[in-house]
Amino acid sequence: MTPIHVSRRKFLSAASKFGAALAVLPLLRPFAAFAATERNTAAFSAKSMSDVIKAYGGADAKESTEITITAPEIAENGAVVPVTVESKIAGTRTISVLVEKNPAALSARFEIPEGTDAYAATRVKVGETSNLIAVVQTADGTFYAQKPVKVTLGGCGG
C-alpha cells in the first residue's frame, strides 16, 4: 500500500466522523431556535396577575410606587385604551401590561435591553371596567402597580 492510500483511508474515516457530526447538527438546531423564540403560552392564557408572574418564573410581586401607569380614568372606547408604563426601578428587565378582567390578563410584555429606557407606550383593548396592571421584572424581584380604568363601551365587540 502506498502512503497515499493510507492517508486516503484516514481521510475517509475522518470525513465520515465529520459527516456524522454534520448530520446531528440540523437535529439540534431547530430546538435551539425554538427555545429562543418560544412563546410563553401559559402566560398569555393566564387569568390573573399571579398566574402570569408564575408563568414567567417569578415569585410574589411587591407593589411599587416607582412604576407609573398613564391611562385615561374613563375610556369611552375600550377597544383603544392608550397605556404608558414607566418604571424607575433600577435594572428593569421586562414590563408587562395586564388588564385584570380581560379573558386573558396579559396584553403585552416588553423586554428592555441595556440602553433602552424602562418605558413603553401602546394601546390595548379593555373588555370591561377593570384594573390595568403593570408588572416589572428586575434582577431583585417582581414589582407591580395598578390603575383602574372605567370603560363605557367594551373592547371586545370591536
Binding site: T37, F110, G115, T116
Partner: protein, 103 residues
C-alpha cells in the same frame, strides 16, 4: 403582504424616541361574525426593534393589543441618521420589517 408600518424616530435630548404604527387587524379570536361563526384569531405576537445591529426593544404581544397597534419606546446610543428597524411576526407566521432613519 400587509401595509407598511409608519415609523418615526427622533432625537429627544440624549435619547432616541421611536413611535411605530402598524397596520394589522389584531383579531382576538373571541369575536363572532353576523352569522355567529367565530372570527379566527389573527394578531401580532412578536415585535423586535433594532438599531445598528443591536436589539433595542423586543415584545411578546397577545390579542388584547388594539387593532392597528401603536408602540412607542426610547433608547440611547444612536444618533441622527442611524436606521431603526422594526419587525413584527403574527400568529399566522406573516412577518413584516420596515425601517426609518432617526431624524
Amino acid at each position: 403582504m400587509s401595509d407598511p408600518m409608519r415609523i418615526r424616530a427622533s432625537v429627544v435630548g440624549d435619547k432616541v424616541e421611536v413611535k411605530v404604527l402598524m397596520a394589522h387587524p389584531m383579531e382576538s379570536g373571541l369575536r363572532k361574525n353576523a352569522d355567529g361563526s367565530i372570527i379566527p384569531a389573527h394578531f401580532i405576537d412578536r415585535v423586535v426593534a433594532s438599531c445598528k445591529g443591536k436589539t433595542v426593544l423586543a415584545a411578546d404581544w397577545g390579542p388584547a393589543v388594539s387593532k392597528n397597534p401603536y408602540l412607542s419606546f426610547r433608547f440611547s446610543g444612536a444618533a441622527k441618521g442611524d436606521m431603526v428597524s422594526v419587525t413584527w411576526t403574527d400568529n399566522k407566521g406573516d412577518t413584516r420589517t420596515d425601517e426609518a432613519a432617526i431624524a
